[in-house]
């Protein structure tokens, strides 16, 4: 799932400061599950922005609404923006971009999109995937070096590792973990075969994906 978090209020207010009627739109899929863009968060942000507007100006009207997913044309079609001059999207980057493509007024992101991750517990997620387009998790025992290694290197661990911890101090070294897990799975010998350069062009060169190109495209 894509994990998001709310931007600082000052940043959001600055973005929409030139608009007078702003619609906040939540997304009931990943953003809701991230506890960042569900109906509750939309309502809370509406009240926060209204309070700020009443206290400090400018006089902007804020309303809220929900979409099941901001990244699907059939859902986005239902959005009625009559009377609004801007949208604050509480969706991921894809939602903001897709709304912008389909609507004629400015769409601003109220959230920062962080990573593709997994839930660790209530309100806590771990980054697991960076959508690099060239998955190596089979070789790395399910631990993504692109995501979990601070440098994203393919031939770790680097010299910054100390007692299994990354020199940044906020995480365990992904490469030490890869080694340990391969060992635990009885395939420690495969560790030496790792370290090939990864083809990063897949990520940067893949701007769309249509599974039926020959038949004239999926649409």
């Amino acid at each position: 799932m894509i994990v998001m978090r709310l931007k600082p209020i000052a940043e959001i207010r600055e973005m929409v400061s030139r608009h007078r009627r702003v619609l906040l739109v939540g997304c009931n899929t990943c953003a809701a599950v991230s506890l960042a863009g569900g109906e509750t968060e939309v309502e809370t942000l509406v009240q926060t922005l209204r309070l700020a507007s009443a206290q400090f100006g400018p006089a902007t009207e804020f309303s809220g609404g929900m979409l099941q997913r901001q990244c699907e044309p059939e859902f986005v079609e239902k959005l009625d923006l009559e009377g609004f001059d801007a949208v604050l999207s509480l969706g991921c980057g894809a939602g903001v971009a897709f709304l912008s493509e389909n609507e004629g007024i400015p769409i601003y992101p109220a959230l920062d999109t962080l990573f593709i991750g997994a839930a660790k517990g209530l309100g806590s997620w771990q980054a697991e995937c960076s959508a690099c387009g060239k998955c190596v998790l089979g070789e790395t025992a399910g631990i993504c070096p692109t995501t979990r290694c601070a440098k994203g290197i393919m031939n770790g661990p680097c010299g910054g590792v100390k007692d299994g911890r990354c020199e940044l101090g906020d995480r365990d070294c992904a490469w030490v973990q890869i080694y340990d897990r391969l060992e635990a799975q009885g395939r420690g010998d495969q560790f030496d075969g790792l370290g090939d350069t990864k083809d990063n062009s897949v990520n940067s060169m893949t701007c769309e994906w249509d599974m039926n190109p020959q038949a004239g495209g999926s649409k």
């Binding site: 600082p8 209020i9 000052a10 619609l23 739109v25 009931n28 899929t29 809701a32 599950v33 506890l35 960042a36 863009g37 569900g38 109906e39 509750t40 968060e41 939309v42 309502e43 809370t44 509406v46 009240q47 926060t48 209204r50 309070l51 700020a52 009443a54 206290q55 400090f56 309303s63 809220g64 609404g65 929900m66 979409l67 099941q68 859902f75 239902k78 959005l79 009625d80 923006l81 839930a119 517990g121 209530l122 309100g123």
Partner: protein, 663 residues
Amino acid sequence: MCALPASQYFDAGPEPQRLFPPCRSKCPIHIDVPGYLMMIAEGRYTDALQIILDRNPLPSVCGRICLRPCEDGCRRCNVDDPVAIASLKRAAADFGAYPNARPDRPRPERIAVIGSGPTGLTVASDLAQRGFQVTIYEAKDRLGGMLRYGIPNYRLPDYALDKDIDHILALGIDVVTGVRIGTDVTLDTLLAEHTAVVVTVGLQGSRALPIPGADSEQVLSALPFLEAAACGEKIALGKNVVVVGGGNVAMDVARTARRMGAEHVDVVCLESEDEMPASDDEVQEARQEGVTLHCSWGPVEVAAAEANVCGLDVKRCVSVFDVDKRFSPKFDEDEVRRFGADTVIFATGQFADVKDLGVELTPRGGVIAHPESCATSVPRVYAAGDVVTGPSRVVDAIAAGHRVAMCIVRDLTNDAHPLAALIEESNALGEVPQSMKSKLETRRRVQMEKLEFYEAVNTFDEIEVGYTEYEAAREAQRCLGCTTGARLTREKCASCLTCLRVCPHNAPGVKVGGFLYFDAETCHACGACVSQCPAQAISLEGHSDAEMMQRVERILYEPGFDTTLVFACGCTPNLPAIPGDDVRKITVTCLLRVAEATALKALQSGASRIALAGCVEANCRYPHARSLVAQRTAKIAATLHQLDMDKALIVPRESQEEDVHLR
């Protein structure tokens, strides 16, 4: 949530609740017990009273003398003590404001109600509410029937009864007292003037035992005796009184005799102590007041000496019922005894006294009414209550009143819906499961202050003083909120599993396909899941963010200066010290029910600052919610900090707890 431009949620609503809490299920009139207990827990007595009045026109009466079948069903029974539901009903009637009468558009039909006991008052109330022109005919001088003349004032004082009666009469009901239908006015005369007549006269005759001496001068019957006491008459009883009978009426008679100056009161009954029909509370209180109970004795003769009674001769009763549980007493003729007495009072049953009425009667003298339509042998004449069924509880009498009223509505308006709504049955929730029980803190019932028995026995003053508001709130907090818990709006659920992660009782579960469901048996209605659900897909019975917003707007409606709005947790009815001159308070079941959006909304609606007053740790109704409340408070503080409005939030220190369990 405000306007939804995306209309896909438009029709979405929570699934209907198909279970009744056992308290509601056991109540013959199915009052929404958890609903009004929650209101009391939040200090909203008028709202609580409104919920009770929806089903029960006599809350002040039932709050005092109901035999409380609901409490037998309370799911706290197998945790500690049942919640004091009846006493809390009384608190609602004591502290709540009765709503103004708003009967429906007047209808032309005129209805005569004969008798003004609980059934008659209920019929009159129901029909007047629906716009019918109702007249109550009462043989005695004042309304209330057995409630006024049969139940002693120390249990149900007149002012408490009048409170309910005044509220009912405010619907525009005419009253004719001092008129006995059948003798003073015939049934035909009534039928000529009314569209329908309802006979709810109850059981007015006292049954005496056919034993020698029963016609002596100092042999009294229960009902006239209790009526005289209720009217304040003094009756010379002498020092020693023997009461015959083992029911609640016998206990009332014995205790009334003590108050009239009798020094020794012996209650003699046929049944063994286990078989006695009197309720345990009544028996215990009678004993505390110095009444002596003699079980398993059968009266043989009232011994009289020179026109005065000198005692009651009895013989040992070996068994009361035969193997088929039929009344068939067997005696040991050799074991006999005499109870010395100056007065003997029979409390050995009542009978219907309606032979002058002209409707068909059962061999025992009761009115024959069709069990479903409540119709009697005379067209347009209905009957209900004890006169049809024999002796029953007050709450059964009210149920009978509702039933006959709705039958009349059906017959006169062809609208069967109200009748169908009345008999709507629901399955009751089962016992508290072991997994949940181990996580519930035991908390004993708050004991109500009572007159000391040595004082009580000298006066007809009410024994039970009633809960204070503080005690009522504390007791209502004990309610487990059965079936008022989480309900899912499936269309909105994002399957984020947040509810699953916050629930301490594992009430939410996941089905194949990621669909959530809630197990009503284990849900404690704490609202933790509701407060954390990002999709607003979970709701609670009796609570919603929209309603909270309305409460905020209502309380801030009057403009003030430098207003502080306190959101106070109901676990701690005492408010901690909050500075400022204009402090307003909203009590909630748990602070988790105050959404961030609600708190922020209050600051736009006129409050200069908000205070989030949490509860005392030892009192907390939902201990697991405390960390979630702390998280939420921190989030609100962080948001206000970002807006440079730190001073708009006060988090007071915990307030003091009163110990209500010391009694």
